[in-house]
């Protein structure tokens, strides 16, 4: 893959076509539903963290999940790549359909699912290995047979980190700043060419400048990926997302195009939250 001097936007798109020899389907138009959540209820023991939520996530959009602490937005996000499987007593009812596959069906392998749905966590969690290995490991364990150096460079460029780290790829990633670490985690997720990128409050541990860089990045990533973003920062949701879903006490109160939700909320509780009266 020697397409490094093309403009960044088309890079991942071109790479995506090349890296997936057997695409699941032909290129689809924007606006198509890529993740469909149907009547989803998630319980931890007796406690229902998510109650009967139905929500569509559209391709090449950033969908923000907002709501006060404990409203179930992170739980909902982690249901999409089945990270809740690791939580004891976590019980899921309802369906999530990703690209036509119902992911909680017995036939669906969560290991395979997670390859197609990348995740970025609240606190930057790079592996205590070199920058290079952080990006290449996911591709390696999933049997990537292309040019690894090119893939690492491309993902780091896509995450806006290449210029800062190109001379120290062999250094341990823990020496990077928090914002750089988080961008490295994004690059690491991109190395698998995921369909959807889940972000669980990706900026909550970062300073304003690093936050702004991640937000710019989310905006760029939308051209090739679909982003689902959990945030407790309403301004952030307003800045970067196309659609916003407001959750409260595990229930989906309202989901709407972001500019509509923030200017004309239908539900009084949404209005109360976005105007800062609680939360």
């Amino acid at each position: 893959m020697v397409i490094m001097d093309q403009p960044q936007g088309s890079l991942a798109g071109a790479a995506k076509a090349e890296m997936r020899p057997s695409p699941v389907s032909a290129p689809e138009p924007a606006g198509e539903t890529i993740v469909r959540i149907e009547n989803l209820t998630i319980r931890y023991g007796d406690f229902s963290a998510v109650k009967n939520v139905s929500l569509d996530v559209y391709r090449n959009q950033a969908t923000a999940l907002i709501g006060p602490s404990g409203c179930g937005k992170s739980t909902l996000l982690r249901a999409i790549n089945r990270m809740n499987d690791f939580v004891p007593n976590c019980q899921v009812d309802g369906r999530i359909v990703v690209r036509g596959r119902s992911i909680y069906d017995p036939g669906c392998d969560p290991v395979d699912l997670r390859r197609h749905i990348g995740m970025v966590f609240q606190k930057p969690n790079p592996f205590p290995k070199s920058i290079y290995r952080n990006v290449s490991w996911g591709a390696k364990i999933n049997g990537y047979r292309g040019d690894m150096d090119a893939l690492v460079e491309q993902c780091l460029r896509r995450a806006g980190l290449w210029e800062e780290v190109k001379d120290k790829l062999k250094q341990v990633a823990l020496n990077l700043s928090g914002g750089q670490q988080q961008r490295l985690c994004i690059a690491r997720a991109l190395a698998l060419q995921p369909d959807v990128l889940l972000m669980d409050e990706p900026c909550s541990a970062l300073d304003p400048i690093a936050t702004a860089r991640i937000e710019d990045l989310i905006d760029q990533l939308k051209t090739d990926y679909t982003v689902v973003l959990v945030t407790h920062n309403m301004q952030q949701a307003a800045r970067v997302s196309d659609r916003t879903a407001f959750l409260y006490m595990g229930e989906l109160i309202e989901v709407e195009d972001t500019h509509v939700l923030f200017t004309h909320p239908r539900h009084p509780r949404t209005q109360a939250y976005i105007t800062g009266r609680f939360g």
């Binding site: 690791f86 997670r114 364990i141 999933n142 062999k170 985690c185």
Partner: protein, 311 residues
């Protein structure tokens, strides 16, 4: 509302001098305890060195023990036996122990059975070593017909150290941050890929510490091997009668009778003649040196691993 609160700062009584005095008291106590420990160890080593000084020559580690000519006695078979036992114990117990720890902490859920198993492992760690000796005698020596061999002794020692290795490895694995596992799983890694690439490397220093502590214990134990039937003293090396290839030789060493340093020391200590006390002291020095060498190897591995990690 408050009735004439004179000043909020009046409510604080820092008693700074008193708190600082407490701090100094603790500092002095801690330093004294530390110094006492070091002094005790230094005295022990000093006494042993003084007693055994005349025997601490190369000849001592290359000669066989002798009752008739104690001034020519040495620890060659005992040192060899100890090294064989600790090596074989490590080969048997480390994979088993680390494997069990990985299973218990990464694979097995938090079930009642799992908790029961863990409780029992903790109990096993407290069982007196002589009980393991009896078990080894019954199972390995008699039932499996291994005889009083290095193999039987190593298997017995493995039983002895396994609980400690499992517990310490489990703790080291539990200390690996959960975020690291989540990062790996989110990239589509299987459990084993996550364990192999991230959990075990991060837990390795802690696992090594546990392994070294338990193997050091195995080197110093006399009681279980006494029961298993290690020789009081040997006049030939284990497996020296065997001919043929390297494999035959190895099998012969594994199945031959053997001596170990702690039992050799114990036997010398029982003798009334002062020359045997000196031999025992020299044996202790050799045993301590072997322990120190083992620990250095562990520190070496740990340093090498840390250097490797920065790639």
């Amino acid at each position: 509302m408050t009735s004439a609160a004179p000043s909020i700062s009046m409510l604080y009584q820092p008693r700074l001098a008193r708190r600082k005095a407490c701090n100094v008291v603790f500092y002095v106590t801690g330093a004294a305890v530390c110094a006492m420990t070091v002094a005790l160890l230094a005295t022990l080593i000093g006494v042993v060195l003084k007693d055994g000084w005349t025997f601490l020559t190369v000849r001592f580690v290359t000669s066989f023990p002798s009752r008739i000519e104690p001034e020519l006695a040495g620890v060659k078979p005992a040192l060899f036996g100890s090294l064989c036992v600790v090596l074989m114990t490590g080969v048997i117990s480390v994979p088993l122990g680390v494997g069990a720890a990985v299973y218990l902490s990464e694979y097995a859920g938090d079930s009642r059975l799992n908790r029961f198993i863990q409780l029992n492992i903790a109990n096993l760690a407290g069982v007196p070593s002589i009980v393991y000796g009896l078990l080894g005698l019954a199972v390995f020596v008699r039932w499996l017909h291994l005889g009083s061999s290095i193999l039987a002794g190593s298997l017995t020692m493995s039983l002895l150290v396994l609980p400690v290795i499992i517990i310490s490895a489990r703790e080291a694995i539990a200390a690996v941050p959960q975020s690291l596992r989540q990062a790996a799983y989110a990239l589509g890694a299987t459990r084993w890929q996550t364990v192999r690439a991230h959990v075990l490397p991060s837990a390795l220093p802690g696992i090594l510490t546990g392994v070294i502590l338990s193997l050091s214990r195995a080197v110093g134990e006399a009681a279980p091997l006494l029961i298993v039937g290690a020789a009081a003293f040997m006049l030939s090396m284990p497996g020296s009668q065997a001919g043929g290839g390297a494999w035959n030789k190895l099998v012969a060493i594994g199945t031959d009778n053997f001596a170990v340093l702690p039992i050799q020391i114990f036997n010398w200590c029982k003798e009334p003649d002062v020359v045997f006390q000196q031999l025992a002291a020299a044996g202790i020095v050799v045993l301590l040196a072997a322990l120190l060498a083992m620990n250095s190897v562990a520190v070496g591995i740990r340093l090498w691993h840390q250097r490797k990690r920065t790639w």
